[in-house]
C-alpha cells in the first residue's frame, strides 16, 4: 500500500515535470508576442541574451567582446553559447537552440535539486533516528522534500520566465545547484567545479564556500553534539556509532585542492580565449568590476540602481563599500547560528545575495524559492506564508505595470517602479527573517522533545 502510494506520487511528479517542459516549449514558440527578453525583470546587463549575441558578434569580427560596455559575461559563455545565438533553423523560432539549452539546464537543475533534497531528507531522518525521535513523526506524513523542491523550481513562473526570456540565469543557477549537490553527496571535484563556475559566472556565489565547507566537514544535517550527549546520558550507555561524525578537515583539503585545479584550468581557458583582447585583466575589469562598481544604472528589480542614480558622485565609493560590506556582515552571524544546517545556510545566503546584489533578476528568486522546497517539512510552521505568497504574486504583477506606466504611458515616473522594487526587497527580508526564525523554532522544538523525554524518563 505504502509502495503503491509512493509510486503514484512519483508518477504525478513526472507528469508535472513533463507538463512544465511542454509549457516552456509552447512559450518558446511565440516569443514575439511576449517580448520577455527585453524586460528589465528578466534580463539584466549580466544575463541579457542580446548582450551575449553582441559580444559574440564583436568577437567574431576580431574585436574585444567587452568593447563598448555591452557584454559583461564570461568568455567561456561566449565560446559555448555564442554560436547558438546566430544559428537558425529554417521555419523555427529564431533562438530555438539557445532556448532548448536553457530548458535542458532547468531540467538538470531540477533533477539535481531532487537528488539533493532526497539526500537531505535521508540525513534528517537518520539524525532523528539517532535521537530516537522517529516515533513522533511516524503518524504525521512527511512530504518528499526533493520532489517538492524540484517541482517548485520547475513550475515557478519566475523560472519559466527566466528560461523563456533567454537570460543566462538558468545556467548560473545550474552551476550553484551543481556545487550544492556535489557537496551534499560528497563528490568533492564536482562541488569544487560547481563553486568555481558559479563564482566565475556571477561572483556572488563565492560566499557559498562557507556552507560548502560545513557540508563537507560535518555532513548535510548535523545537530549539535550536545543534544546527542544529553540524549545518551540519560540512557546511560553512550553509543559511539550513533554519534554524528565531528568536523573533519580531510575533505576540505581535498576541496581546496580541486578548487585550485579548476580555477587554474578556468583561468587558462579564459586567457586563451581572450589572448588578443587584453587578457584576463580586461575580463576581471568588465565582469567583476562591472558588478562591484554598479556602472550600469538601467532599472531592474534591485534597489541599487535608483540609489546610485541619486547619490552624489563623491559619496559613490563610500556607498559602494557600504552596500557590498552589507552582504559580508551578514555572513558570519548566520554561519555561527546555522552551522548545523549548511544547506539552509546556503539558502539564506543565496536569498540575501539576490536581495542585495547589484543586478538582480527573477532568475535569482527562482533559485532560492526552489531551494526553499527542501525545507518544506522543517518550515511547516512558518508564519506569514500566505502573506508572502500574495506579496510575491502582487509584486510580480505590479512591476511590469509600473514599468509600463513609467516608460510607455509617461504618466508615472521612476519612483513608481522603484516602489515595487522596495516592496520586493522587503518581501525577501520578511522571507529570510521568518524562514530563519521558523528553522530555529524547529530546532528548539526538537530540543524540547528530547528534554521532555528526559523528564518522562526521570519520572
Amino acid at each position: 500500500m505504502e509502495k503503491l502510494k509512493k509510486k503514484i506520487g512519483s508518477l504525478s511528479f513526472w507528469n508535472w515535470v513533463i507538463a512544465s517542459i511542454i509549457f516552456r516549449l509552447i512559450l518558446i514558440y511565440f516569443p514575439k508576442n511576449l517580448n520577455l527578453s527585453s524586460r528589465p525583470e528578466v534580463s539584466t546587463p549580466l544575463t541579457s541574451f542580446r548582450r551575449l549575441a553582441e559580444g559574440y558578434w564583436l568577437k567574431q569580427s576580431s574585436m574585444s567582446p567587452y568593447a563598448g560596455s555591452m557584454f559583461h559575461g564570461s568568455p567561456l559563455l561566449l565560446s559555448l553559447l555564442g554560436p547558438l545565438t546566430v544559428k537558425r533553423i529554417e521555419g523555427q523560432p529564431n533562438h530555438l537552440l539557445y532556448s532548448l539549452v536553457s530548458v535542458i539546464a532547468d531540467l538538470v537543475s531540477a533533477m539535481l535539486i531532487r537528488a539533493t533534497g532526497q539526500n537531505l531528507q535521508f540525513a534528517y531522518l537518520r539524525t532523528l533516528g539517532s535521537l530516537d525521535l522517529v516515533k513522533q513523526i511516524e503518524g504525521s506524513e512527511l512530504r518528499s522534500s526533493g520532489d517538492v523542491a524540484a517541482l517548485i523550481y520547475l513550475c515557478n513562473p519566475f523560472t519559466i520566465v527566466a528560461c523563456v526570456g533567454l537570460s543566462t540565469s538558468p545556467i548560473e543557477n545550474m552551476a550553484v545547484i551543481l556545487c550544492l549537490y556535489g557537496a551534499c553527496s560528497r563528490l568533492i571535484p564536482l562541488a569544487a567545479f560547481g563553486w568555481v563556475i558559479a563564482t566565475h559566472l556571477s561572483l556572488y556565489p563565492a560566499i557559498l564556500i562557507i556552507p560548502v565547507i560545513f557540508l563537507l566537514g560535518c555532513g548535510p544535517d548535523a545537530p549539535p553534539r550536545k543534544l546527542f550527549l544529553q540524549r545518551h546520558q540519560q540512557k546511560g550507555v553512550l553509543n559511539e556509532s550513533k554519534l554524528p561524525p565531528g568536523f573533519t578537515w580531510r575533505p576540505i583539503i581535498h576541496f581546496a585542492f580541486w578548487t585550485l585545479v579548476w580555477s587554474v584550468y578556468l583561468l587558462v581557458l579564459c586567457g586563451i580565449s581572450l589572448k588578443q583582447f587584453g587578457g584576463l585583466w580586461e575580463m576581471f575589469k568588465s565582469t567583476y568590476g562591472f558588478i562591484l562598481t554598479v556602472e550600469d544604472l538601467s532599472p531592474n528589480i534591485g534597489v541599487l540602481w535608483y540609489f546610485f542614480a541619486e547619490v552624489f558622485e563623491f559619496f559613490r565609493n563610500f556607498f559602494l563599500i557600504v552596500f557590498h560590506v552589507n552582504i559580508l556582515f551578514i555572513i558570519l552571524p548566520l554561519a555561527i547560528r546555522l552551522h548545523h544546517r549548511p544547506c539552509y545556510l546556503a539558502f539564506v545566503y543565496i536569498t540575501i545575495c539576490s536581495m542585495l546584489k547589484s543586478h538582480p533578476s527573477v532568475g535569482d528568486s527562482a533559485l532560492y524559492l526552489g531551494l526553499l522546497g527542501w525545507f518544506v517539512n522543517e518550515l511547516s510552521d512558518m508564519q506569514f506564508s500566505l502573506f508572502l505568497f500574495c506579496g510575491y504574486v502582487g509584486v510580480s504583477l505590479l512591476s511590469p505595470v509600473m514599468h509600463n506606466l513609467w516608460i510607455w504611458r509617461g504618466t508615472g515616473n521612476a519612483n513608481f517602479y522603484f516602489a515595487t522594487a522596495m516592496v520586493y526587497a522587503c518581501l525577501q527580508i520578511v522571507l529570510v527573517v521568518e524562514g530563519v526564525s521558523a528553522m530555529l523554532n524547529h530546532d528548539r522544538k526538537l530540543r524540547h522533545l528530547i528534554t521532555g523525554k528526559l523528564h518522562e524518563a526521570k519520572s
Partner: protein, 727 residues
C-alpha cells in the same frame, strides 16, 4: 503527567510582550466586521464627497503664458477661411464621385499658403483583439497583407516649417473631414483650421512646426488619425506599401494629376514628417448647435482611462472663458442632473458646510447644491468614460504615443447668416491660435501638471492624492477580513484537533509540528488559481470565436457561453477535480477559500487602480460588498435566522448584479429602458471593448471570475448535499 510539563513550558516561555503596532493590527483584525463596515461606508461617502473636495485648476507650467499676447488673427484670415468653406460646400454640391475633388481643393489651398503638402493613403485596419498587447509597447508595426484597392482613405497633410525652430518639434492640428458626406460643421472646422493655418504661415514667432492633418473620416475619425500616427511614428522600410500603390491605379492617378497641376511647388508624393509632437488639438464643429450661447466641449479621455496633461485643458479653458467668451463644457451624465436624491445630498453637504463655517469662519468647505449636482454628474461621466477605456475621440490615438491631445468640439448658436459664421471663425480661430502660441512657448514636453485626475467641471479637478483615499478606504477591509479569516481557520483547526484526540496526542502534534499546518491554504490557492485560469480562458475565447465567419452577435454569444462552460468542465476534470475535492462542508475550509479569494481580489483591485483607476473604483463598489458578504448557502439555510436570510438575499442579488452581462443589462435598462435589451448587445459591447484593447475587458474577465470561487462554493454546497442525499 501532562500538568508539570505544561507548567515548565509556561515557565520557559513567558508570553512575549506585544509591540504596539502588532497590537493595533491584532485589534483591527479581531474587529474586522466593524472595521469593514466603517471603511466601506466611509469609502462610498468619500466618493460622494469628491465634488466638494475638488480644487480649482491652475496653470502649472510657467512657460505656457496663455493669453499674454494679443491674438493676431484678423478679418483677412477669416475671409480666407470663409472662401475655403464656400469652395468645399460648392464642390460637395457638384458631388464628385469619391471625394477626391475636395481633397484636391484643400491641398491646393495649403500649397497656395506655401506649406508642404502630401497625401497619406491608408487602409482602415480591422479592429483585432490582441490579448497579449495590453502591456507591450504601442508600436505594433504590423503590416497587413490583404489590402483591397476599393477601400482606402486619404489624409491630407500640410506642414509649416517654423522660421525659428530647428524642426525637432511639432504641434498637430487635426480636423476630421468626410469628403463623401460632409456636413456644414466639418467644412466650418476646416475653415477655422485654415484661417489659423494661413496666419501661422506669416508669423515670425513660430518655434515648432505646425502639422495640419485633414483626416479622412469615412472609416471613422479614430481609424484615420491612428493610421497616420502609426505611419508617422513607425517608419516602414518594407516595399509593401509601394507595391500596393502600384496595384491600385486610381490612387496613382490622383497623385499624378496633383503633381501635374502644381508642378514646381512643394507637393510631394512621399510621407512627410516634422519633429516630435508636443501636443495635438482635434477640432470639430457640431452641426446642430446649442440654443443659448456658443459652447465648446472638451473631450479628453483616451484609451484605458489615460488623460492628457491637465495643463492642456487649463490653457484651453482659460483662453476660451477669459479671452473668447465661450462657454466651456465637459461631458456630463445627463440623467444625474435631475435626480432628486443627489440634490438633497448636495443640500445636506451645503448645510453641513454652513455649520462648519459658523464654527470656524476660516473653513472654506462646501459648494452650493446645484453646483454639487453638476459636479457629480461630470465626475460620474468622467469615471464612466475612463472606466470604459474607450477613447472619446480621435485624440485617443495620440495618447498611445505619449502625445497630449484633446478634442475641442464647438457647438455654435445656430443661424446661417454670414456675420455669425465670421464670428465663429474669428473666435474659434483665435482660441486655436492662442493655444498653439502657448504650446509653442513650451521648452519641454508637458510634465508639470497632473496626468491622473478626474474633472468635476472644466475648471475644477480632483487629483490622484484625493480620490485614492476613497478607493483605499473602500478596499481596506479586504486584507483585514482575509487576515481574520485566515487566523480563524488556522486556530480553529488546532482547536478541533485538540478536541478530538487524547491529551498526549495533542502535545505530540503541537510539539512536533511536522504536519503541514501553515501551508493548508495551498489547496484553496489552487482552487482560486484554477478559477482565474478559467477566467483567462473565457476572456481569450472571443478571439477564436470572432474567427468564425458570418456569425450574428446572438449566436456568437451563445457559442461563447457554451464554450466557457465546456472549458470549466474540462479544467475541472483535467486538474484532478479541485472543485469537488475541496469539501466545502467544513467551515474552516470555506474560510480559507474565502480568505485566499479576498486576498487575490485585493491584489487585483490594487493593480487595476494603478492601470485604470475608474475601472478599479467601479469594480470595487460592486465586488467588495460581494466578497465580504459571501457565505455558503447551506450554512445560512441551516441557521435560518433573520440575519442569515438577509445575507442570502444580499448574496443572491449582489452575485447577479456583479455578473458582467447582468450588470450590463441593468445599466442599459436604466439608461435606455428595458425594452431594447438583447443578448447580442452584450456581445457587441464586449467586441467594442476588446477592439480598443481596453484593460477593462481583461479586468472583467479575470477579476470577476476571480470572485467566482465564492459563488461556486456557495452554490455547490447545497448541490453536493442533494447528491449525498440521493445516494
Amino acid at each position: 503527567m501532562a500538568e508539570p510539563k505544561e507548567k515548565s513550558h509556561n515557565d520557559q516561555k513567558p508570553k512575549p510582550r506585544v509591540r504596539p503596532i502588532v497590537r493595533l493590527g491584532i485589534f483591527l483584525v479581531s474587529h474586522s466586521f466593524l472595521v469593514s463596515v466603517v471603511c466601506c461606508t466611509s469609502g462610498v461617502l468619500a466618493l460622494f464627497l469628491l465634488p466638494v473636495l475638488a480644487k480649482n485648476t491652475y496653470i502649472s507650467e510657467n512657460a505656457l503664458m496663455p493669453g499674454s499676447a494679443s491674438p493676431m488673427l484678423s478679418n483677412q484670415h477669416v475671409l480666407d477661411g470663409n472662401r475655403l468653406v464656400k469652395d468645399l460646400t460648392n464642390s460637395n454640391l457638384k458631388s464628385s464621385e469619391t471625394g477626391i475633388e475636395s481633397h484636391k481643393i484643400i491641398a491646393q489651398y495649403m500649397l497656395d499658403l506655401g506649406a508642404e503638402v502630401s497625401f497619406h493613403k491608408f487602409h482602415p485596419q480591422m479592429n483585432q483583439f490582441h490579448p497579449l498587447h495590453f502591456f507591450s509597447s504601442p508600436d505594433s508595426g504590423k503590416i497587413q497583407e490583404n489590402y483591397s484597392c476599393s477601400s482606402y482613405g486619404i489624409n491630407t497633410v500640410g506642414i509649416i516649417r517654423a522660421p525659428r525652430g530647428d524642426g525637432k518639434e511639432a504641434i498637430v492640428l487635426v480636423t476630421p473631414y468626410n469628403a463623401l458626406k460632409s456636413g456644414f460643421g466639418e467644412a466650418l472646422s476646416l475653415g477655422i483650421a485654415y484661417s489659423v493655418f494661413s496666419l501661422l504661415t506669416q508669423v515670425t514667432w513660430l518655434a515648432k512646426d505646425i502639422i495640419w492633418l485633414v483626416a479622412d473620416s469615412q472609416f471613422g475619425e479614430y481609424a484615420a488619425v491612428s493610421a497616420w500616427l502609426r505611419e508617422y511614428q513607425t517608419p516602414k522600410f518594407s516595399s509593401l506599401s509601394t507595391l500596393n500603390s502600384e496595384m491600385c491605379p486610381d490612387i496613382n492617378n490622383l497623385f499624378e494629376i496633383k503633381v501635374h497641376s502644381v508642378a514646381g511647388s512643394k507637393f510631394s508624393n512621399s510621407f512627410r514628417r516634422a519633429g516630435t509632437m508636443a501636443a495635438a488639438l482635434v477640432l470639430k464643429v457640431r452641426d446642430q448647435g446649442e440654443q443659448f450661447e456658443d459652447t465648446i466641449s472638451i473631450y479628453a479621455e483616451a484609451s484605458n482611462g489615460q488623460m492628457p496633461n491637465l495643463d492642456l485643458i487649463n490653457v484651453v479653458n482659460y483662453l476660451a472663458v477669459h479671452r473668447q467668451g465661450l462657454r466651456v463644457n465637459v461631458e456630463k451624465l445627463r440623467s444625474l442632473l435631475n435626480s432628486s436624491w443627489l440634490k438633497s445630498l448636495g443640500e445636506i453637504f451645503e448645510s453641513l458646510a454652513k455649520v462648519a463655517k459658523t464654527l470656524n469662519p476660516k473653513c472654506k468647505f462646501g459648494i452650493p447644491a446645484t453646483e454639487y449636482v453638476e459636479g457629480t454628474a461630470t465626475l460620474a461621466s468622467s469615471l464612466y468614460y475612463q472606466a470604459l477605456g474607450v477613447p472619446t475621440g480621435p485624440h485617443g490615438a495620440f495618447r498611445d504615443y505619449q502625445v497630449d491631445a484633446i478634442t475641442l468640439e464647438i457647438s455654435p448658436k445656430f443661424s446661417l447668416d454670414k456675420v455669425w459664421r465670421n464670428d465663429i471663425l474669428l473666435r474659434g480661430g483665435r482660441l486655436i491660435e492662442g493655444v498653439i502660441r502657448s504650446v509653442n512657448n513650451l521648452l519641454e514636453k508637458f510634465h508639470q501638471s497632473f496626468f491622473l485626475y478626474l474633472l468635476t467641471s472644466p475648471s475644477k479637478f480632483v487629483s490622484v492624492g484625493v480620490y485614492m483615499i476613497a478607493f483605499a478606504l473602500l478596499i481596506a477591509p479586504l486584507p483585514m477580513v482575509a487576515a481574520s479569516l485566515y487566523v480563524d481557520a488556522n486556530s480553529s483547526s488546532n482547536f478541533l484537533k485538540g478536541d478530538s484526540s487524547t491529551p498526549s496526542a495533542i502535545t505530540d502534534a503541537a510539539e512536533h509540528g511536522i504536519t503541514i499546518r501553515s501551508w493548508k491554504w495551498l489547496n484553496s490557492a489552487k482552487l482560486v488559481f484554477i478559477v482565474h485560469l478559467w477566467g483567462a480562458i473565457v476572456s481569450l475565447l472571443p478571439y477564436f470565436i470572432c474567427q468564425i465567419p458570418d456569425c450574428s452577435p446572438m449566436t456568437s454569444f451563445v457559442i461563447w457561453v457554451l464554450l466557457s462552460i465546456l472549458s470549466l468542465l474540462i479544467l475541472n476534470s483535467v486538474l484532478a477535480s479541485p472543485l469537488a475535492c475541496v469539501k466545502a462542508s467544513q467551515e474552516k475550509e470555506w474560510a480559507l477559500v474565502k480568505s485566499v479569494t479576498i486576498s487575490s481580489m485585493f491584489i487585483g483591485l490594487g493593480l487595476m487602480s494603478v492601470i485604470n483607476f475608474a475601472t478599479a473604483e467601479i469594480g470595487a463598489l460592486l465586488m467588495v460588498p460581494m466578497c465580504l458578504l459571501a457565505q455558503p448557502l447551506k450554512l445560512d439555510l441551516r441557521a435560518g435566522t433573520l440575519r442569515s436570510c438577509c445575507r442570502i438575499i444580499c448574496n443572491l442579488v449582489l452575485g447577479h448584479i456583479a455578473f458582467p452581462p447582468a450588470a450590463f443589462f441593468l445599466l442599459k435598462g436604466m439608461l435606455e429602458g428595458f425594452g431594447s435589451a438583447n443578448v447580442g448587445d452584450f456581445w457587441m459591447w464586449v467586441e467594442s471593448l476588446w477592439a480598443w484593447n481596453s484593460a477593462t475587458y481583461l479586468f472583467i474577465g479575470l477579476l470577476r471570475s476571480g470572485s467566482n470561487p465564492l459563488m461556486i462554493e456557495s452554490i455547490q454546497v447545497p448541490l453536493m448535499d442533494r447528491v449525498g442525499a440521493c445516494e
